[in-house]
């Protein structure tokens, strides 16, 4: 059964599994293991002169400091999927046009399929898994599920991330604001009107939750 609790817990587990540090510096060409990143680079200089070594990137991913080794031509989406086990940022158009791979980087919604991982050094990145694992955003996920703001569901995480990025900046959006904020996300199943409905409902609930917390304090 996929419930809010079970999926939130699954997202938390994926985040917990992110590597703080790289333990093994293995050469992707010959599988030789080196002591650290510098020695891996030296190994390239000595054994694979014509090749470009992988880059090491440190980023803050869903609140966790994470190190990753990836080829320098890899996008953030590819790195998230193949190196870090996060598949919420979906591979769809691979051209920066459909929004299915949307993540939030330093507070801005960006497209992980056209962002090179090398550009992410030191950045604060939130993926849909981070939103799912954060209880604060339960009302948004709940509203998406109550209103069927998805059909086949492939593009949905990208929409949800765009919606969260909107609410970060504008906690009281209008329907027009929602349409504008989601205009970079394409849903072939045509769920568009349902997203605005869900976001507006979530914004109200989040405001109520905040008010209740304020009253408790």
């Amino acid at each position: 059964m996929y419930t809010q609790e079970s999926t939130s817990a699954a997202a938390s587990s994926l985040i917990d599994a992110l590597p703080d540090k790289i333990d093994v510096f293995r050469c992707p060409i010959c599988s030789a293991v080196t002591a650290n990143y510098d020695s891996l680079r030296r190994h390239y200089d000595e054994c694979h002169v014509a090749e470009i070594p992988p880059i090491m990137v440190t980023l803050r991913l869903n609140g966790r400091q994470t190190e990753v080794l990836a080829p320098p031509n890899w996008t953030l989406q590819r790195t998230l999927q193949f190196k870090l086990g996060l598949t919420g940022a979906k591979h769809m158009c691979d051209k920066g046009v459909c929004g299915s791979c949307t993540v939030i980087m330093d507070g801005r919604a960006v497209l992980a399929c056209t962002t090179l991982v090398v550009e992410c050094q030191g950045k604060d990145i939130q993926t849909v898994e981070g939103i799912a694992a954060d209880a604060k955003w339960k009302p948004l996920v709940d509203a998406y599920c109550r209103w069927d703001a998805m059909q086949c569901g492939y593009c949905t995480p990208g929409f949800l991330v765009s919606a969260k990025a909107l609410l970060d900046k504008n906690p009281n959006p209008t329907e027009e604001d929602c349409r504008e904020a989601l205009s970079g996300n394409i849903c072939i199943c045509g769920t568009y009107p349902r997203h605005s409905t869900a976001i507006l409902e979530a914004a109200l609930k989040i405001a109520e939750d905040n008010q209740a917390k304020g009253a408790q304090r």
Partner: protein, 789 residues
């Protein structure tokens, strides 16, 4: 009220069915990204595979030198079409394979630019695969491409399928003309009555053309799979076991392809993504087990989004001649069309077999001829549809509009005049469902018909409107095998999946909750690929027909639960290590028989005094299983029940056309639908939005473009191929009616994509400015039609 056949009769009070905003059973997985689609799977030690994709639209690979590619570090395997593995490896069909020899799974012929051909490379990562493909030395023989359907009709045209005579199987659904195929053309013909005589005697005749555009695949997720072999010590059948992800729901086809016992084939993933009339699998979903067997490692193969523009709604040119009386009653329909048959392996449901389910199906007219020439092309794999496809109903929609224009009448009145009655083509009565849809539709849209070019808006733009109708079809393509398990107060509903976005399993769960007097959340859908039940068989069929079967199963289970409750009240079971703790005191149901009991609100209650009750989980401690197999009675389309009309839907469109700029704005779309009974309103609304938006897309925005000389696709990407966004889609007003006249659960019918269309907006544009613009009606085409450019 046909649903009386069901075990539960025609229920009047609903507690769960029809309730909005119940989350889908997998919605949380989809929304949070936890759901894994085929392309998402990454497994340790995995290799990647890529096909050589043809740069030519019509070509043959003469030879390939793979030596440079094999020498590239990181390349693990290269397979070519000449490899022994491909000599006995044949594509598995979605439906029964046509007789005769079949094409090799991978051969050296390319019949579409970008198609998989001749070579597969397996390497440590996708970049190495790409590099290895670049290093191949391929010798091609290039043939002239056929990407213009009308030119392909010419007997002297180049052949789109050089080896066609060897492997071309007949479409099992089409009524083909029994004559040798000439050039690229196959013919199909269906005739009812005497069309020539009826045309000769007709008081009026209109002739018109429609161009149905080719528009692109509706698959959002690029198809992909990953597979590996393993030794399962617990396997019931001897031999290695296969694990594949990404071939969702097609475990049996994969096991047949690889001659592995289905019991030894594992396919756990349930998320299929969108597959709107795009059935079957891509090669990337079928090849990975072979490559994994050759390399001894897991192998992943994924299409790119560009690759996934290989499947299209077919282009079709329709030339119509319609005879009608001075009142507007259609007496003859001569429908000749030229359809793009695409490459080998098109999905060709009902090529010309449309009298059984199409726009003419609904009309009184008894003289109908449909003649189609299907032209093989190198444009892509086509959904080669007859009028049965909702898009193609617009040949009828357009006839009604043009007759109305000619006679100065409202097209709604012309439609009413031409629609036959509920029971047959000869039935002169009106269809109640149609009447109420029209009544509500007129109210919803403030319907006030005007002739073309007669209404100008205050801002100077021209106003146009249009209307169309369709049937909400009674489906039952297939039987369903349902199973329900009562377990300590909850109901477990095992299902194979897959999850396709139609919320079919949710409708089934709602029906179960309704029948068993429990909450929707207490119906636990357990996904297990080894189960048989799958609520799939076409969108409507999967939702409503399977729900009817599930209702019967729930009725059986209910009876068994009540019998168990009566038995256990007399024979209390001894304490068990597991299961609920029973409350102290006597069982209040003691002394009552099963027939005196009912299930209400999670309790077993005494019918005559519901205050005497026991919590369900305490009343029946047994684990109880019920099964039911079958399909709803009186399905029309698939069981040939004749031309009955029961549940209908209507759609409306208003546009504003700026004759200075050529811009078309959809002011409003309306849908009034009678699906018999609304099972799950939230997903029904969403289904209607979807078809309205992709209908809008193909009429205003979307168009696949080929270079005619090279046959190369010019816009197979999401930048150049324009899909509607949140800022493009108009407002849709919807209203649902419930006549309970369908054949599925509680009198529901399917609605599926029956509101999909290619000409509702186009007709509204004509109503605004009095000229025809072929879809997509982009501003330049509007201005050209107006003679301004």
């Amino acid at each position: 009220m046909p649903d009386l056949v069901g075990a539960n009769g025609q229920r009047e009070d609903f507690r769960v069915v029809g309730k909005p905003n119940l989350p889908g059973k997998v919605s949380y997985a989809l929304a949070t990204g936890i759901a894994k689609f085929g392309i998402d799977y990454v497994v340790p030690n995995m290799l990647h595979a890529k096909f050589l994709r043809s740069p030519y639209a019509n070509a043959k690979v003469l030879s390939v030198d793979t030596s440079k590619s094999l020498a590239l570090p990181g390349v693990v395997d290269i397979v070519t079409w000449e490899d022994e593995d491909f000599q006995t490896f044949q594509k598995q069909s979605f439906y029964a394979a046509p007789p005769g020899p079949r094409r090799q799974w991978l051969d050296n012929y390319a019949d579409q630019e970008g198609v998989e051909v001749a070579v597969i490379v397996v390497a440590e990562d996708e970049d190495i695969c790409e590099e290895a493909l670049r290093l191949l030395d391929v010798q091609w023989e290039v043939f002239p491409p056929v990407v213009n359907t009308l030119k392909g009709l010419d007997p002297d045209s180049p052949h789109a399928r050089p080896r066609d005579e060897i492997y071309h199987g007949k479409d099992p659904f089409a009524r083909l003309v029994d004559e040798p195929k000439k050039g690229n053309v196959t013919k199909a013909l269906t005739v009812q009555g005497d069309v020539d005589k009826a045309l000769k005697e007709a008081e009026n005749i209109i002739e018109y053309k429609l161009m149905l555009p080719a528009f692109a695949s509706q698959i959002p997720n690029p198809p992909a799979s990953v597979a590996w072999w393993f030794n399962d010590p617990y396997a019931t059948e001897p031999g290695p076991s296969l694990h594949i992800e990404g071939a969702v729901q097609r475990r049996e086809l994969i096991s047949a392809l690889y001659k592995v016992p289905v019991e030894n084939t594992v396919q756990e993933g349930i998320f299929q993504g969108g597959k709107y009339c795009d059935w079957g699998m891509r090669r990337s979903q079928e090849i990975t087990p072979l490559l994994a067997r050759r390399t001894g490692r897991p192998v992943r193969c994924a299409n790119t989004r560009e690759d996934t523009f290989d499947f299209l709604m077919n282009e079709r040119f329709m030339y119509m001649k319609v005879g009608f009386t001075n009142e507007g009653l259609i007496t003859a329909i001569d429908d000749y069309s030229i359809a793009d048959g695409g490459i080998d392996g098109n999905a060709s449901f009902g090529t010309a077999n449309d009298h059984g389910y199409g726009p003419y199906y609904t009309m009184k007219c008894l003289n109908i001829r449909q003649y189609m020439e299907i032209v093989d092309t190198n444009r892509g794999k086509m959904y080669l549809s007859g009028q049965h496809c909702p898009f193609n109903w617009d040949s009828g929609t357009m006839a009604i509009y043009l007759i109305a224009e000619k006679l100065g009448k409202d097209p709604i009145d012309i439609a009413k005049l031409n629609l036959h009655g509920p029971d047959s083509q000869e039935d002169d009565r009106s269809v109640p469902s149609f009447d109420v849809c029209l009544e509500e539709g007129k109210k919803l849209m403030n319907w006030n018909w005007h002739a073309s070019g007669m209404k100008k808006l205050p801002d100077g733009r021209y106003h146009g409107a249009s209307f169309r109708y369709q049937i909400c079809p009674r489906h039952a393509f297939t039987s369903y095998y349902t199973k329900l398990e009562y377990r300590f107060g909850k109901i477990v509903m095992p299902t194979q999946g897959p999850v396709t976005g139609i919320y079919a399993v949710e409708c089934n769960a709602m029906v179960v909750a309704e029948e068993l007097g429990i909450e929707y959340d207490d119906v636990i859908v357990e996904y297990n690929y080894k189960e048989v039940f799958t609520p799939v068989g076409g969108g409507s069929d999967g939702t409503t027909a399977s729900a009817w079967v599930m209702k019967e199963c729930a009725a059986k289970l209910k009876q068994q639960i009540l019998e168990a409750a009566a038995y256990e009240a007399e024979n209390p079971p001894p304490p068990a290590m597991k299961g609920p703790q029973l409350p102290p005191g006597p069982n209040p149901l003691k002394g009552y028989k099963a027939e005196e009991l009912d299930l209400v609100g999670g309790y077993v209650v005494v019918k005559k005094d519901p205050s005497i009750r026991r919590l369900l989980e305490h009343a029946a401690l047994q684990i109880i299983v019920a099964t039911y197999a079958g399909r709803p009675p009186d399905a029309l389309w698939s069981l040939g029940r004749g031309k009955m009309l029961d549940t209908m839907n209507t759609a409306y469109c208003e546009v504003a056309v700026d004759t200075e700029t050529g811009e078309v704005e959809i002011l409003r779309l309306g849908a009034v639908a009678d699906p018999g009974k609304v099972l799950r309103p939230t997903s029904l609304e969403s289904q209607i939005d979807q078809v309205m938006f992709f209908s809008q897309g193909c009429q205003l925005l979307e168009e696949m473009v080929w270079d005619e000389r090279s046959g190369v696709r010019l816009n197979n990407n999401m930048i150049d191929y324009k899909k509607p966004t949140t800022l493009d889609v108009p407002h849709i007003d919807r209203k649902f009616l419930e006549t309970r006249a369908g054949n599925a659960a509680y009198g529901a019918s399917g609605i599926s994509h029956s509101l999909a269309n290619t000409h509702m907006v186009i007709i509204a544009i004509h109503n605004a400015i009095g000229v025809w613009v072929d879809p997509p009606a982009t501003p330049d085409k509007v201005l050209k039609a107006l003679g301004k450019i």
